[in-house]
Amino acid sequence: MGIKIVKREGKSFKDRIYLPAILGGMMTTLGHFLRNLRDTSNIKTLNYPEEQPKDITSRYRGVHRLTKRDDGSVRCVACFMCATACPAECIFIEAQEREDGVDEKMPKVFTIDLLECVFCGGCVEACPCDAIRMDTGIFTFVAHKREDFLLTKDKLLSFEAKKEKA
């Protein structure tokens, strides 16, 4: 077993007078300062809210939406799979019989409490009919009252999928 001598840093004279290292650091920050001062478009921050983020992909888990059939009616059959899978227990469904013969059941009430939702995507995974998706791309949802954060069925049906930019 040979003895390995570990080289200790910071003991040389140059290290001990600090100033070269301090000047090196200051040159780095000055470089950033001058580059950004010369042309402020070098700064990568967004001027939110005028400028919106451009890197929201179709797989981003935004606010939920209920998908529709070809005839425009709700695709959901009120099977309660999403409500069962939900770890936050934020989905509230009441079923009703479907009269138009397209299917047997449909939701009478379908409410998602966004204040409880953890945006895990479990409901989307659980749905057997591809009736709920989180592809709206909405990443901010603001309201004045707690009640306004309850997304009703009509509201959920009104959302559209985020369009991919060509």
Partner: protein, 427 residues
């Protein structure tokens, strides 16, 4: 007292106020914008008055207004209400008074009268600075103690320990500087630096006394309570340090006092080590003798600088939305710049065509020197800000190690060296 002397005294007081108190909002703005640019973000740039943003400067005035109109809260645990209110006053006044002896220009000669171009016409210079700069720590200690809060008390204990560890080194580094210059009066010191070394190097303090300059600059950061030595504030360790319990304008006084102290320290650094109000190679006599050439040079330089500044402004001073009120600013400022240029060029041209007399030359020299001093002061303040956003905070014991074990022996060695050279060579 005639009208000339009264007007010059008033101008001096206004200049002193502008450089210290008036500089505070500008320094806050510089601090925030420079911090932003160093960290690759924008900094405050939204606040505007009818679209005029001045690069975010308006934000400082909004913040000042906010501080003035906030509730002046005082916790019920504070027993010594009088000392609690007195502390920020001490910090502010001592910071403010330190600035009063900084010369903005060489002694102005009008006819037979000679005027000191500084806030208070006294020649105590460095001594005055040391006396009042040392006083500001009493405000910090008093405020921390009167707050009746453990964090505040820790902050003020740290401030006390900090002061005894750097003030010795600071004073000693100044001794060697004073041996070199042979005077404590700042005007004499600056005029010494107007000479040339070996005929071509300006005899600035940083060239004659590099070691003293480094020691003084390091201790000046501690003096102004700025990072890397802001252990009295230490917001990551002590909440807000000595000003945890302060709010509204009582906090505002601490806050403004810090920036005024920083400006005063910069002014002394500039005066002692960077040639004060002198342009390099152009001391007062040279400037007065060649004033027509200097004025002609200004007539050429000003439009050139304005051209590049306007180009930069049109490229960078934009708002994303079309038709936003903030987008009108660049055009307005461009008109103002053109107006200033026309005014200065026509005025100077008219004056030069008439011929410059001696009084005129003296006044023009004073104006040029005041501008030089202002630019140097701004650059030194920028260095303070730049260091703050580069270096992390020193630990409490590291600062004391630095003060007692490194800076003080270095300062003493520098005194011995300087004294030997002065005695042997009789410089």
């Amino acid at each position: 007292m005639n009208s000339i002397s009264i007007s010059i005294v008033i101008i001096n007081i206004i200049l002193a106020l502008l450089f210290s108190l008036g500089a505070a909002p500008i320094l806050v703005w510089i601090e925030r914008r420079v911090a932003g640019f160093i960290q690759d973000r924008m900094g405050p740039n939204r606040c505007h008055i009818k679209g005029i943003r001045l690069g975010g400067l308006i934000q400082s005035f909004a913040d000042m207004l906010k501080l003035v109109f906030k509730e002046d809260f005082e916790a019920s645990g504070i027993k010594e209400s009088f000392f609690f209110s007195l502390a920020p006053v001490i910090v502010f006044c001592s910071a403010f008074l330190t600035f009063m002896v900084m010369p903005f220009a060489d002694n102005l000669k009008i006819g037979a009268q000679v005027f000191y171009m500084q806030g208070l016409p006294i020649d105590l210079g460095v001594l005055w600075f040391l006396a009042f700069a040392g006083l500001s720590v009493y405000g910090i200690m008093l405020g921390g103690w009167a707050s009746n809060n453990k964090y505040s008390l820790l902050g003020s204990i740290r401030a006390g320990a900090q002061v005894i560890s750097y003030e010795a080194a600071m004073g000693l580094s100044l001794v060697s500087v004073l041996i070199t210059y042979g005077s404590i009066h700042l005007v004499d010191i600056v005029n010494f630096q107007g000479k040339l070394l070996f005929g071509f190097i300006p005899a600035w303090g940083i060239i004659i006394q590099p070691l003293a300059a480094i020691i003084f600059i390091v201790t000046a950061f501690a003096e102004a309570n700025r990072t890397p030595f802001d252990i009295a504030e230490g917001e990551s360790e002590l909440v807000g340090g000595f000003h945890t319990e302060y709010s509204a304008m009582r906090f505002g006084l601490f806050f403004v006092g810090e920036y005024v102290a920083m400006s005063a320290s910069s002014a002394l650094i500039v005066t002692l080590f960077f040639g004060g109000y002198h342009l390099p190679w152009l001391n007062t006599q040279v400037l007065q003798n060649h004033i027509t050439w200097v004025l002609a040079f200004i007539m050429i330089a000003l439009p050139t600088v304005s051209f590049f500044f306007s180009k930069w402004m049109f490229n960078n001073n934009r708002w994303l939305e079309e038709g936003n009120i903030r987008n009108r600013e660049s055009k307005l400022l461009f008109k103002v710049i053109i107006g200033i240029n026309l005014l200065v060029i026509l005025g100077l041209g008219f004056w030069l065509s008439l011929g410059v007399e001696e009084i005129g030359a003296n006044i023009a020299t004073a104006v040029i020197q005041v501008s030089t001093f202002a630019i140097k002061l701004l650059l030194m303040n920028f260095v303070f800000v730049w260091v703050r956003w580069t270096l992390p905070r020193f630990r409490y014991d590291q600062l004391q190690d630095l003060g007692w074990k490194i800076l003080m022996p270095l300062a003493i060695a520098n005194i011995v060296l300087t004294a030997t050279i002065v005695v042997v060579f009789g410089v």
